[in-house]
Symmetry: C2
Amino acid sequence: MPSEKTVERLSLYRYLLYGILADGERNVFSHELAGMAAVSPAQVRQDMMVLGYSGSPNQGYEVGKLIASITEFLDDAHGRNMALVGVGNLGRAILSNFAGQRSRLQIVAAFDVDWQIVNRMVHGCWCYPLDKLSGVMRDQDITVGIICVPPAAAQEVADALCEGGVRGILNFAPYRLQVPDHVYVSNLNITVALEKVAYFAHHSPVRLETPSREEAKV
Amino acid sequence: MPSEKTVERLSLYRYLLYGILADGERNVFSHELAGMAAVSPAQVRQDMMVLGYSGSPNQGYEVGKLIASITEFLDDAHGRNMALVGVGNLGRAILSNFAGQRSRLQIVAAFDVDWQIVNRMVHGCWCYPLDKLSGVMRDQDITVGIICVPPAAAQEVADALCEGGVRGILNFAPYRLQVPDHVYVSNLNITVALEKVAYFAHHSPVRLETPSREEAKV
DNA sequence: GTAACGCTGTTAGTATTTTCACGAAGACCA
DNA sequence: TGGTCTTCGTGAAAATACTAACAGCGTTAC
Ligand SMILES: NC(=O)c1ccc[n+]([C@@H]2O[C@H](COP(=O)([O-])OP(=O)(O)OC[C@H]3O[C@@H](n4cnc5c(N)ncnc54)[C@H](O)[C@@H]3O)[C@@H](O)[C@H]2O)c1
Ligand SMILES: NC(=O)c1ccc[n+]([C@@H]2O[C@H](COP(=O)([O-])OP(=O)(O)OC[C@H]3O[C@@H](n4cnc5c(N)ncnc54)[C@H](O)[C@@H]3O)[C@@H](O)[C@H]2O)c1
């Protein structure tokens, strides 16, 4: 049972490792990964402890093996099918971003109430009317939902997702959803993130999120 | 010097308080706000301690006064002008979201390298070619930047923003920027957020981010 | 073969963040 | 007016997250 932050970092490490692999590097040290991820080397090693995989002294970690370990840990075996609800500006941006990807996480269906949007492909993803949600979720074995609707509609959508058997929700609407206990919800509020930046930009303390001396990398 | 998390929560409280005000409520208790923000009442009271404002026992907090206190604390007096770089799918979504708003935080200019996009209005915001960045930043007193370009271009854009005198950056590209010490950077990685949700959806521990019994509210 | 080095795994220590618990004070009622 | 009830402010305790330190081992150099 790793913490939320550990899972986030593992996800980031994996992304960085793919970049390293593409560069032809076979091995990587904890301090290199740490530099790219803007964390301490000790943090990297600590995070690795939750994986079964160990690096070797003086050689660091084998990039391919490490990616495999993280993937096994995060997505254990099979990928996840996800649904996106609310094909507005933000919804379309997310669909476009995940369109090409053939990763273990796929957005396999989108939903909206707007008849102008519904019943056609959007960035490679079919867009259904909202009332088809439960049915499609069961048919396609969808277990994760992404909510990109206005706050006033968020609870209604969350209820529908739960009805369809969702296990996790990423919610972009500024509204705290009420869901059954077994459903995991994470809220991502872009406005709040911006206000935080504006605050620290002008009340700059010392420096909180810092890159580090290491060369940052794709 | 409040923590990052405290600033995030204050921003969220303020948003919630505007909703309460719109409902005609004059006062609010810590446990009510806590319910809406999915935190503990003690947390709310602790967060309030950084503001100068105190509530009164049995009456709770005066909504209007509390909003004013948070605003004074977060945006001290004058608003902030922001620039968005990278008017792609995500950039346009963010521009559309901040278009109508007349808040203290405004996106006053957008930038891109694509000649198809540049030199026209996008969701009410003028889009300049990237090489105008430094000049426009100085003219319009822009101190916060939002990076929505592909990761390979992120560092170049960050350098240009720093050149223009930026103090804070919200970075959506999956790349750790290297910037001078006095520039505050916050990274928001949507893919990582999604992977986290997928993980906890299927390795559901007990429940981490939870709403609560209180009635959630716009 | 062996000594020196460099990086990992791990544990113990430190710092930060959240929760708890309780004294004080305004409001309401009789 | 006195008593009760509710909620705030706050410092101390608990929980969490991060850092530092070191033992162990593979590698390399000689
Ligand atoms: N775009 C941003 O930068 C940004 C920033 C902060 C927060 N948000 C939040 O993200 C959410 C989406 O933002 P957006 O910019 O894409 O808004 P948008 O208005 O462009 O899109 C909303 C979409 O949801 C659809 N919709 C409305 N009610 C629905 C329902 N009941 N079921 C299904 N679909 C429904 C609409 O038809 C529309 O297509 C909003 O809650 C917004 O507050 C967005
Ligand atoms: N859209 C999402 O859901 C999502 C999710 C995760 C991460 N991201 C990240 O957010 C960023 C933007 O995503 P997007 O979907 O909007 O991509 P996009 O390709 O739609 O838009 C990128 C825009 O940046 C512009 N650009 C390229 N180089 C530039 C430069 N040097 N200077 C200025 N502008 C430049 C392009 O012309 C284009 O308009 C990317 O880094 C992406 O990885 C997006």
